[in-house]
């Protein structure tokens, strides 16, 4: 079967989601592999959401929030950044390559950057191939 990478994306309402909307109103074209979920703030994003997406078969998870200093709720993006580092550590221990979980800052005016980001991540995932959580867990199990 043809490998079609899937990206589940969590965008904050104020900057990133608005930026993604701007990509639309500017008619910028990007890869159709992404599905966007809106949250009010990137600080709302829980490890569970990321794990759920991978569990359901996502090949990549993209989190976008406001640029540092620009958070609509002052500092939610900083909290997201800290949480992100931890989740990434955890998911990489599960055998999920770091590139499959990305955090980027997208402002409400960065439609172009958002489109490029989606294209780049899709390309990265094409190179990585489908997510291999199970396989790596099996290997770990055998080692033990």
């Amino acid at each position: 079967m043809n490998y079609r990478p899937t990206i589940v994306s969590f965008l904050c309402n104020w900057c990133a989601y608005t930026g993604a909307d701007l990509a639309g109103t500017s008619r910028l074209h990007y890869a159709p592999n992404i599905r966007i979920i809106r949250v009010m703030c990137s600080g709302r994003i829980e490890p569970t959401f990321v794990l759920k997406a991978f569990q359901q078969g996502a090949d990549g998870v993209l989190i976008c929030g406001c640029h540092p200093g620009d958070c609509h709720y002052h500092e939610g993006n900083y909290k997201c950044l800290r949480r992100f580092k931890l989740i990434q550590k955890y998911t990489s221990q599960m055998g999920i390559e770091k590139e499959r979980l990305q955090l980027e800052w997208i402002s409400a005016s960065e439609g172009q950057q958002f489109a490029e980001l989606v294209n780049n991540m899709t390309k990265t995932l094409l190179l990585l191939g489908p997510v291999k959580i199970k396989q790596s867990l099996e290997v770990q199990h055998l080692k033990q």
Binding site: R27, R44, Y73, A108
Partner: protein
């Protein structure tokens, strides 16, 4: 929970969605899903007949949940929430799938776009099943208004509100009211005096019993929410005053671009290369003279200085072409025999009476020369001794295709208008966003151009984008009308998607208390649980994701709802791929 009975509506948005998404197929597919009672597609869901369709079905099919797949929820979520509420359903039992901005407009493969639309709609269907009815909350509105910026827009808004008998605090960062208009001589296209326009405004504002003016004052931090904002303003003599107000109008304006960045024009090197605002000052004094006190025989006016140029600012400043034509009239009146050169890139005369004004200018014996922004800017150099002029402008004249030299004694640079240096501090203080050109972003570019996505915060005048005096004043009065309407009602509906604590699950660790940026959560030592002050909570959800026991949830963004959305996204086209 009652059995979900969901109605799904897929919008064509004319051809905006339907040309890239097979709307009929999508509606047909989702109609087969559990709990979907009815699925339809329609040309314009946001139109009255579109909304009627939903309302009729809610009654006819006893729907208790609704999904609309259309544009971004940022555009029409409220429209549809109101529609379902009209039919007697709680407005929060509704969900939108964004299949225009984030699907049909950004993809070029109809099959891919269609399957994406399907995924997004299924996600919305799964999510809406877990939606809970939320009760609308309203807060009282403090009848005072804070206006930031004492230019013509800020004063027009302040006077409109003050004349209706309501209090206005107007803060201005400089030491005088009037803004950019106070620096002008005449206005286009009627060549009437700018001072005669602005002085009555300034006096009216200063003397109005309902307006309190704070000069030399900048906005620092604003706390609170629509209807009940608070801010401490620091005045020049280090005195702090706390102000309370229900609404905010940002009218901070723009500032002139510094042309010394453009090497070609030699601003700063040539004393007689001046900016349009410096020329206005000269006109106000009544004499057009070079730095050596001589009357210039040749005057060039260069358009688009810093405008419509990728290197500086990509946008058009909108007022400079007409101001440049205005100078022709003013120079002619003063120096009947001077040679006047309008060196332009494109002539923009879009406004009421502007094209007529342009036509009138062409009878004033002037020379229009066109340059190509993309190719090369005109270059100013010193003239030679026997040239009989101070400077020479070398340029490629676009219409004739020839390289020419223009003799000049004075050059007026029509400078772009750009954002103030501290604009980021202002937007942060009042909680709004900037676009790429550093203009304040309005709630809706067409239907709601003076409001912002932050309740109770309005934007007027040039900070929203370059505009002339009539447009600025129109916006100012429009924002004032919006604010007076909420003051008249006395209360305003506020966001109800706040955090709430399940006291049975709360272990009292107070993690939420520490992460809340608004101090909206406090610990109740008697009950040993956290409590949310719903008035202070802005619903960011940070507490929910930090809570170790899952006791705090963000209403309308609960774990269940978001996890269901993730499952929905992955359940159709991606399944097994």
């Amino acid at each position: 929970m009652e059995e979900p009975r969901i109605g799904v509506y897929v919008c064509w948005c004319g051809t905006n969605i339907s040309k890239m998404v097979d709307v009929e197929k999508v509606a047909d597919e989702v109609s087969k899903l559990t709990h979907v009672v009815i699925a339809k597609n329609y040309k314009y869901m946001c139109s009255d007949p579109g909304q009627e369709l939903i309302i009729k079905d809610i009654h006819g099919h006893k729907l208790n949940r609704v999904v609309v797949a259309a544009c971004s929820p940022r555009i029409h979520e409220l429209t549809f929430r109101n529609a379902v509420e009209k039919a007697g359903i709680n407005p929060y039992l509704f969900e939108m799938a964004n299949i225009r901005e984030q699907d049909s407009w950004v993809h070029t493969d109809r099959v891919e776009a269609t399957s994406k639309a399907l995924d997004l709609i299924v996600a919305a269907i799964r999510r809406v099943k877990y939606h809970e009815p939320l009760q609308k909350r309203s807060v009282t509105v403090d009848p005072a208004t804070l206006v930031i910026g004492g230019g013509i827009s800020g004063m027009a808004a302040a006077l409109e509100i003050a004349n209706a008998g309501k209090k206005v605090f107007l803060i201005e960062k400089t030491n005088q009211l009037g803004g950019q208009v106070a620096k002008l001589d005449l206005t286009f296209p009627h060549l009437s005096s700018a001072q005669q326009l602005i002085q009555p405004f300034i006096q009216g504002t200063e003397n109005h019993p309902n307006i309190e003016v704070f000069l030399n004052t900048e906005i620092r931090d604003v706390t609170g929410y629509i209807g009940n904002f608070k801010s401490t303003v620091q005045m020049a003599e280090n005195e702090n005053i706390e102000l309370k107000f229900g609404n905010i109008i940002a009218a901070v304006g723009l500032k002139p671009f510094d042309p010394s960045k453009i090497e070609e024009y030699g601003y700063g090197r040539f004393p007689d290369v001046i900016t349009s605002l410096e020329f206005e000052e000269m006109l106000s004094k009544g004499n057009i003279l070079t730095k050596y006190g001589k009357e210039p025989r040749n005057i060039a006016i260069i358009h688009c200085v810093g405008s419509r140029n990728k290197k500086y600012h990509p946008y058009c400043s909108r007022t400079c072409c007409m101001a440049a034509l205005k100078y022709v009239h003013e120079i002619r009146a003063c120096l009947p025999s001077a040679n006047i050169f309008e060196i332009y890139a494109d002539m923009r005369a879009y406004g009421k009476g502007h094209e007529e004004f342009y036509a009138l200018t062409t009878h004033k014996q002037i020379i229009f020369l066109m340059y190509d922004q993309q190719e090369a800017l005109p270059v100013i150099r010193h003239a030679n001794k026997n040239d009989n002029c101070n400077m020479i402008i070398e340029m490629n004249e676009k219409l004739s295709g020839e390289s020419i030299e223009v003799p000049v004694d004075m050059v007026i640079l029509m400078v772009n208008m750009e954002a103030h240096d501290n604009v980021k501090e202002v937007v942060r203080a009042i909680g709004v966003s900037l676009c790429g050109n550093q203009f304040f972003i309005e709630k809706h570019p067409k239907l709601d151009p003076v409001a912002t996505t932050t309740g109770g915060v309005f934007i007027v005048g040039t900070c929203q984008g370059p505009k002339d005096i009539p447009d600025s004043v129109a916006q100012a009065r429009a924002a004032a009308a919006r604010i007076l309407a909420t003051i008249a009602q006395g209360s305003v509906a506020v966001e109800v998607t706040t955090a709430c604590v399940n006291e049975n699950l709360c272990c009292g660790c107070q993690t939420c208390v520490r992460v809340c940026p608004y101090g909206a959560i406090s610990y109740n030592p008697e009950k040993r649980v956290s409590e949310v002050n719903e008035v202070l909570c802005k619903g960011c959800g940070t507490c929910g994701s930090a809570c170790p026991t899952g006791a705090i949830s963000s209403k309308h963004f609960t774990d269940k709802q978001i996890l269901a959305e993730i499952e929905g996204i992955m359940s159709m086209s991606f399944k097994g791929a």
